[in-house]
Amino acid sequence: MPENKGLLILSKLQLFVLISVFTLFSPVFSFANEPVSEHKTEVKADTTAAHENHEISATEHSAAGHGEQHGEAVEAFNPGKMILDHVKDAHDWHILDYNGHPVGVPLPIILYDNGLHVFSSAKFEHGHAVVEIKGNFYKLHDGHIYKTDAAGTIEIGEKKAVMNAKPMDFSITKNVLALFIGAALMLFIFLSVAKAYKTRGKAAPKGLQSLVEPLIVFLRDEVIKPSVGKHYARFLPLLLSIFFFIFINNLMGLIPIFPFGANLTGNIAVTMILALIVFVVVNFSGNKHYWKHIFMPDVPVGLWILLIPIEIIGVVLKPFVLMLRLFANITAGHIIILGFFSLIFIFGQKSVGAGLGASVLSVAFTLFMSVLELLVAFLQAYVFTLLTSLYIGSATEEHHHAEDHH
C-alpha cells in the first residue's frame, strides 16, 4: 500500500506541474485569442479607422449576396451566438478575424449524396457561396450543409426550422480533426511509453513513462481493481483507453489556440459513443445474476411489474447519465470561460475604458476558471472511468445472496 501512496503523491505532483504550466500559459493564450476572435465588437468599439473596415466588410457581405442575418451579427456583439459558435462543431477551424475577414483553417467536406463528394470547406466562403458538385447545389447555413437550388435559397419553415434537404455529412469537421489529433497524440504517448517499457525492462520509469505510469497504476489499483473485482484485468485496456481519451482531450480543449481548443469531449456525439461503448460492454459482460436481478428481482412476483421496468430504465439510464455528465461539464466549462471574455466586449461596447476595466476582472476570472477546468478535466475523466468500472463490476460480480442460499 505504501508504494501506491507514493505513486499517488507523485501523480499529484505531476498534476500540480501540469496545472502550473497551464496556469502560466493560459492568460497568454487568452490574450492572444481575445482581441481577434471577436473582431465584430472591436469594429464597433474602436476608432473610426476600424469603423471604416466594418463598413467595407458590411458592403462586401452584401455584395456577396448575403442575407440580413449576418449583417445583424456584424452590427452588435452577440455573446450567446459567439459562445455557441465556439462550443459547437464547425466545418472550418476559425482562428481569428482580421479586418473583418475570418481567418481559419479550411477543412475537407465529405458528403454522401448519391455518391461521395469531397471538396474544401473554403468553397462555402463561410456560408456566402453556393457550391455546385456534379449538378447538386450545397450551401452552409448555421453550421449545417443543405441542398439548395442554384441561387442558394434556404427555405425557413415554422419555428425557424430549415426545410431544405440535408446530405449525409461525413466531413472532417473541427471536432473530427481534434479527434484525429487527440488520437494521434495518445498513440504517440502510449506507443512510446510501451516501447520504453520494452527497452528499459524492469528499470525505474523515465521521462514520459514516469508521467503516465503513476496514473495507470493509480487507475488500476485504486479505481478499477476495487470497483470491477476479480475480472478487472479483462477490462483494463478499455477503461484505461476511456480515461486517457477523456483526460487528454479535456486538456487539449483547454488550450485555446489551433490545433487545440475544440470542444471535443463536450460534444454530445463523442460522449454518446463513449456511453454506447460502456452500455454494450456492461450488458455483454453481464452474467446470469445481472440479468436475473433485472428480470427476476428478489421481490414478490406481484412487484415485478413495477420493478422490471425500473431496472430496464436503469440499464439505459446509467450510460445516458454518463453521456450527459461529461458533455455538460466540459461544455459548461467552455461556456463559462467564453462568457467571461464576452464581458470585455459587452463593456467595450459602452466605452473602451469599461472594456479595459472589465478585461482585468475577466482575465482574473478566466485564469481561475482555467485552473478549475484543469481539475474538472481530470475529475470528469476519473468519474467516467470510476462509474464505468462500478457498472462493469456490478454486472460481473458473483451474487452473494444466491451463494448464501446454496
Binding site: 459547437k88 469537421t173 502510449f190 517499457y197 524492469k202 484485468a233 454530445i268 463523442v270
Partner: protein, 169 residues
C-alpha cells in the same frame, strides 16, 4: 438544440477513430505496459521477500556468532581460572616442600651439631683422663720429694680442672 443533437459525421468518425484507437492501444500499448508493470511489481515483491529472508539469515548468523562468542569467553574464563588454581597449588606445594626441606636441614644440622658435641665431649673426656693421668703422674713424682710443694701442686691442678670443666660445661 444543435448542441444536444449528435451530428452524424462526428458520431461516425468517433466510433471509427475510438474503435481503432482502442484496438491499437490494447494491442501495442496497454498489453506491454501492463505486462511490464506487473513483471516489475512481481520482481520488486520477490526482491523484498528475498531481502527479508537474507535479513533473517543474517540475524540468525549474528545470534550464532553471539553464542560462539559467549562460549569462547566462558572457555577463556575457565582456562584462566584453572591456571590460577594451578598456580596457587604450585606455589603452595613449593612453599610446603621448601618448608619441609628447611625443617629437615635444620634437623640434620641439629643432629650433626649434637653428634659433634658428643664427639667433642668424648674427646675432651679422653683428654681430661690423659691430663688427669699426667697430673697424677706428676703429683705422685712430686709427693715423693716435697710435701709442701705437693700440696701447692694439687691445689693448682684442681683449680685447673675446675676451670676446664667450667669451660666444657
Amino acid at each position: 438544440m444543435d448542441l444536444v443533437l449528435p451530428g452524424l459525421g462526428l458520431t461516425f468518425w468517433m466510433l471509427l477513430v475510438f474503435g481503432l484507437l482502442m484496438f491499437l492501444l490494447k494491442k501495442f500499448a496497454w498489453k506491454p505496459i501492463l505486462t511490464a508493470l506487473h513483471e516489475r511489481e512481481h520482481s520488486i515483491d520477490e526482491a523484498l521477500k528475498s531481502a527479508e529472508v537474507a535479513r533473517e539469515q543474517m540475524a540468525k548468523l549474528n545470534s550464532d556468532n553471539e553464542a560462539l562468542h559467549k562460549q569462547a569467553r566462558e572457555e577463556r574464563d575457565q582456562i584462566l581460572k584453572e591456571a590460577k588454581e594451578m598456580k596457587n597449588e604450585i606455589i603452595a606445594e613449593a612453599k610446603k616442600s621448601a618448608e619441609e626441606e628447611g625443617k629437615r636441614m635444620i634437623q640434620r644440622a641439629t643432629e650433626e651439631i649434637n653428634k659433634q658435641k658428643q664427639n667433642a665431649i668424648a674427646e675432651l673426656k679422653g683428654q681430661v683422663a690423659t691430663l688427669s693421668v699426667n697430673i697424677a703422674e706428676k703429683l705422685i713424682s712430686n709427693q715423693l720429694s716435697n710435701n709442701a710443694e705437693q700440696q701447692a701442686i694439687i691445689a693448682s691442678q684442681v683449680n685447673n680442672l675446675n676451670n676446664n670443666q667450667q669451660a666444657i660445661a
